[in-house]
């Protein structure tokens, strides 16, 4: 029976409270098991040999010496991965990214891998593998890759989304366009038009836990994989396809995860570990080093963006356009498309057009990074919004309020919005005490808005009631941001029991139906929905058991406050049966009591945020200190406010790092120069101020509790908010992220002449 997904304004007993996290003790005591924490008897250690070149033909791989080294049990190269993809090019891209096939496409691209009895032997074996390369011309910059005469990364790529279809190869894998109205006519009506080009450098999610797995695959084609991942079902499906296995025969278990932020939605080394295991017929453990994580997992795009916005003197925007060029690494992606879709999503625009170009370069295959592609687009758009407000002589917040999207607005990427939070977050910025803080010398204030779609997707959940009345909730969405606490609250709320009575487990792929990856801020939204329904399903069973016990029709039983109550005068002699009582009797009333639900959770509510930041810039060194930071975001309904605030703060922290210091630095040789945390500078605690948060709750009409995803939107505004604040502090428009000290100092000096 399908359950009602629509929002109902029900009261809550537990939802919205700040209960203790269930995984806290495990994590602080070291009991929690991460990707690298599990070992198998007889396991081998795998290491990967990686290309030292940005682009090279692999003429020969001689593994003979390595194979003879005592202790080496298996070696694989591209030749060990036959094509099982059935012509699916995007699957082949994943395979080719896991192990090069004749060509190394970026510095760090895997060319061979070894499994040996220990790490030392594997390291020695790597040194004995002789690879003969022929270097090819390379390109790492997005604009250079689009230029005439640039080295072509793949000769089979024809630009998609262009009519007529091109006949020659290009580094532009896809063009995508969104918008409506007539932008030319709109600009003609404008009193003021501002246009600017922006650049953002490539950043990495920077999760502390490197990719790690323990793989076991037998000659019979059945296996197990223990892995740190955001989506073990997806990993199972992808690995099975790439290796020609039956999906049901590969059991994938997700470990505790030490951060993912989108970077653990894709396979990198897992198919390699499985193939090594199959070849050696022994378990194989593969843990990436930090250097490998930077060079060969999936950072986000570097970009180059043009934005143009025109407005009337009264502050109404008449037209807006953006051209967004995003590199996707050495394989096609969809990143420019997301940039184009999100760029103007905050505003109510009559005439709008955004065009994205997805561009191939000799860099690692780009992966999702928290609201992928939206922060860069917002940097361009929100910077121009500030510039335009200044030209109009309007307050930057007022200007945005005047043009904010609202219920009924046709979004620049197509849909008509339902109830949304952009207007309320802007109003909250205006009213926030942060706005009253007096700015000192060399200080500046900036604000910016951000949007993210959010996602729902396939979800499957089991709820099992123990004989003592405690509840085991098994979900298939990996807990990357605290969903176990939220889901336990939801289950307890529905059943009318204590939070502590519910234990949430992330089930492996063989214990539940398919669950989509935890991405798109879907964990609490979709598994929350499935948990509500599974609990309601269990309540049906509980009511049946009570009815059977009382020997009355089930329609005379209601479930209230954690107990079955018999309705009607005729039943007034029947005292209520608690969940515990029903559970205790369950062996004699029909066996175990369970609730189950599978759902495609549609209608993930879009999410908006506005951020406000004060900075101080040292005009002599270009160094920026963030003094105060405020995040205001619509959560729909905050199930567990601590975690929601944590998501707000985490996104802001990552955004601050991206805005000020984080970047991939490539040398002229096309090699990554800073594959480590020393020179890839994520902020440390002392770099960050206290990040203040304000949760707004504008219910999502498509979720029983009104939940919207909250994990991603918080990283969208920071680049722009800090860009605006720094620009205000130094009096020069900053258009290149990160705004590192040398870039700021140069901008100040260039402006001074």
């Amino acid at each position: 029976m399908p359950y009602e997904t629509a929002y109902t304004n029900q009261g809550f007993n537990l939802v919205g409270s700040r209960v203790n996290r269930p995984d806290g003790i495990d994590k602080v005591t070291g009991r929690a098991k991460y990707g690298a924490d599990v070992n198998a008897a007889g396991q081998l250690v795998a290491k990967v040999l990686r290309s030292p070149h940005a682009h090279a033909l692999i003429k020969k791989i001689d593994t003979s010496k390595a194979a003879k080294l005592p202790g080496v049990k298996a070696i694989v190269t591209g030749d060990d991965f036959p094509d099982h993809t059935g012509g699916n090019r995007s699957m082949m891209d994943i395979l080719e990214n896991c192990m090069a096939r004749g060509r190394a496409l970026y510095d760090g691209h895997a060319v061979a891998a070894v499994a040996a009895i220990d790490g030392e032997t594997a390291d020695k074996a790597l040194k004995l593998i002789k690879v003969t390369y022929k270097k090819l011309p390379h390109v790492t910059d997005v604009d250079a890759a689009m230029a005439e005469g640039a080295p072509i990364i793949h000769d089979w790529v024809r630009t998609a989304g262009v009519q007529p279809a091109p006949t020659t190869a290009s580094n532009v894998a896809q063009r995508s366009e969104f918008g409506h109205g007539d932008v030319e006519a709109g600009f003609a009506q404008a009193d003021i038009v501002v246009e600017k080009t922006f650049k953002t450098e490539q950043t990495h999610q920077g999760y502390i836990e490197p990719h790690a797995c323990l793989a076991q695959l037998g000659p019979d084609g059945s296996g197990e994989l223990w892995v740190t991942t955001q989506g073990h079902f997806t990993f199972r499906n992808v690995c099975s396809t790439l290796l020609g296995l039956d999906v049901a025969k590969l059991k994938v278990t997700s470990s505790e995860i030490g951060g993912g932020f989108g970077g653990k939605t894709h396979v990198w080394t897992e198919p390699v570990a499985l193939q090594l295991s199959r070849k050696a017929n022994r378990p194989v453990k593969l843990v990436m080093t930090r250097d490998e994580v930077f060079r060969a997992s999936g950072p986000t795009s570097s970009t180059s963006i043009d934005v143009k916005i025109g407005a009337k003197k009264n502050g109404r925007i008449t037209a807006a356009t953006a051209e967004l060029r995003y590199q996707s690494g050495a394989f096609p992606g969809m990143w420019a498309m997301f940039g184009a879709m999100t760029s103007f999503a905050c505003y109510d625009l009559k005439n709008v057009k955004s065009v994205g170009y997805d561009v191939l370069v000799n860099r690692p295959k780009v992966a999702a990074y928290r609201a992928p592609s939206a922060p860069m687009a917002a940097f361009g758009v929100e910077s121009v919004m500030d510039m335009l407000a200044a030209e109009l002589g309007m307050d930057a917040v007022e200007f945005r309020i005047k043009n904010a999207a609202k219920k009924g607005t046709k979004a620049s990427y197509g849909p008509i919005y339902g109830p949304i939070g952009i207007g309320p977050t802007l109003q909250a910025v205006k009213d926030h005490p942060h706005m009253k803080r007096r700015l000192g010398k060399n200080q500046g204030r900036g604000m910016a808005c951000g949007f993210w779609f959010n996602f729902g997707g396939q979800t499957c959940t089991d709820l099992n009631i123990g004989v003592d009345g405690s509840v085991n909730l098994t979900v298939g969405t990996v807990d990357v941001g605290g969903s176990r606490a939220s889901l336990a609250l939801i289950a307890a709320e529905e059943l009318g029991i204590d939070y502590d009575q519910v234990r949430v487990t992330i089930g492996d792929t063989n214990s539940l139906g398919h669950n989509d990856t935890t991405e798109g801020s879907r964990g609490t939204f979709s598994s929350g929905m499935a948990t509500i329904f599974a609990a309601r399903n269990a309540i049906e069973v509980l009511k049946q058991r009570a009815a059977a016990t009382w020997d009355i029709p089930v329609d005379q039983v209601v479930w209230e406050a954690g107990e079955a109550r018999a309705k009607g005068k005729q039943n007034s002699n029947l005292p209520p049966l608690t969940l515990k009582e029903i559970a205790a009797k369950s062996p004699r009333t029909g066996g175990p009591i369970a609730g189950h639900n599978e759902v495609v959770a549609d209608g993930a509510g879009v999410s908006f945020a506005s951020h406000l930041v004060d900075v101080e810039v040292d005009p002599e060194t270009g160094s920026t200190r963030v003094l105060r930071y405020t995040v205001i975001q619509d959560a729909g309904k905050a199930i567990h406010p601590d975690y929601v605030e944590g998501q707000f703060q985490g996104g802001a922290a990552q955004g601050i790092g991206w805005a000020l210091n984080e970047e991939y630095i490539y040398g002229d040789d096309g090699c990554l120069q800073n594959p480590g945390f020393l020179d890839y500078r994520i902020p440390v605690c002392s770099d960050l101020p206290f990040i203040d948060t304000q949760i707004l709750e504008i219910p999502n009409p498509n979720h029983p509790y009104g939940v919207r995803g909250v994990g991603e939107t918080s990283i969208v505004p920071p680049l722009a908010a800090i860009g605006n604040a720094v620009s205000n502090a130094v009096g020069v428009r900053m258009n290149h992220v990160p705004m590192s000290p040398p870039r700021i100092l140069k901008a100040i000096e260039d402006a001074a002449g």
């Binding site: 120069q673 500078r681 440390v684 040398p742 140069k746």
Partner: protein, 286 residues
């Protein structure tokens, strides 16, 4: 690889002198272990000097300071007396890495790692520190600025290591300061750094030493910058002249941590700021 933990300097010298392969001294290990883990070095012998009692000694007096080669940087910060006498040396040592790193790392290790960006080195040179070197041919006393020859290279011979660093007697009305520029507040490496040590007489600078870090293959003394300060109360003209001398002395590289242009400019800024701080600490009034 052999790992040895001798309890006397004599035993340590014998071990190091007898080793034919690659040998390294381990004090805090905060550089050594990282380099080993990266695979940058594969030592045949590592000699841990932390078990040698004399090397763990820190004695502080106005007549002189003795910092044993195994004294962690954090211990320097815990000595109020040292903080009063040599605040610049202490702040330099307490900028290395992070709090956790400072619990292990030593100024001698920082020196012998021979990085142009080492935090404690400019401050030690500005202080006129001496290194007590011990080796197969006995002991020698060497100015700290003679230890580092270039990135990763020192003047220490086979079997030699530094037993301790000694700071000279402290004249009254003296002050020192160390400032570095890093994009992050900690866990970072100096893009540019500057140390200034000076002594006042009748309110004006009588002697001064200015040392820059991360702008040349080794930390460099800038006598012209020091001269610009001497005889002044750090008026604007003197400071500008000093900053100019700092910039002129720079011979940095362009790399992922900073450009030539940026390092040169900021060397002048930090030199000026460090001079003002040292002047104030010496009791100077403008």
């Amino acid at each position: 690889m052999r790992f040895e933990s001798p309890t006397t300097t004599k035993a340590a010298v014998s071990l190091l002198a007898a080793e034919k392969g690659v040998s390294h001294v381990l004090a805090g290990g905060t550089d050594l272990l990282v380099r080993m883990k990266m695979g940058a070095i594969e030592p045949d012998l590592v000699v841990d000097v932390k078990r040698i009692d004399t090397m763990a000694a820190l004695t502080v007096a106005a007549s002189g300071v003795h910092i044993g080669g195994a004294v962690p940087a954090a211990e320097l910060g815990e000595s109020e007396k040292l903080r009063t006498l040599w605040p610049g040396v202490v702040e330099a040592a307490n900028l290395i890495g992070s709090d956790q790193i400072q619990g292990r790392c030593t100024v001698v290790g920082n020196l012998c790692n021979a990085s142009p960006a080492a935090d404690s080195v400019p401050a030690l040179i500005a202080a006129g520190a001496k290194a007590l070197v011990i080796g197969p041919n006995g002991k020698r006393r060497v100015s700290v600025d003679k230890i580092v020859l270039g990135p990763g290279r020192t003047s220490l011979g086979h079997g030699e290591f530094i037993e301790a660093i000694v700071l000279p007697a402290r004249a009254p009305k003296s002050g020192d300061a160390y400032l570095r520029f890093t994009p992050r507040t900690e866990m970072d490496i100096a893009v540019v750094s500057a140390a200034v040590n000076l002594t006042l007489a009748r309110g004006v600078v009588k002697t001064a030493k200015v040392v820059l870090g991360a702008v040349a293959p080794t930390a460099i003394s800038v006598p012209a910058a020091a001269r610009a300060l001497i005889g002044t109360k750090l008026d604007d003209a003197a400071l500008e002249k000093m900053a100019k001398a700092c910039r002129a002395a720079c011979n940095p590289i362009d790399d992922k941590r900073g450009t030539v242009e940026y390092r040169t400019k900021v060397a002048g800024v930090l030199g000026r700021r460090a001079a003002l701080l040292a002047f104030e600490r010496a009791g100077g009034r403008k």
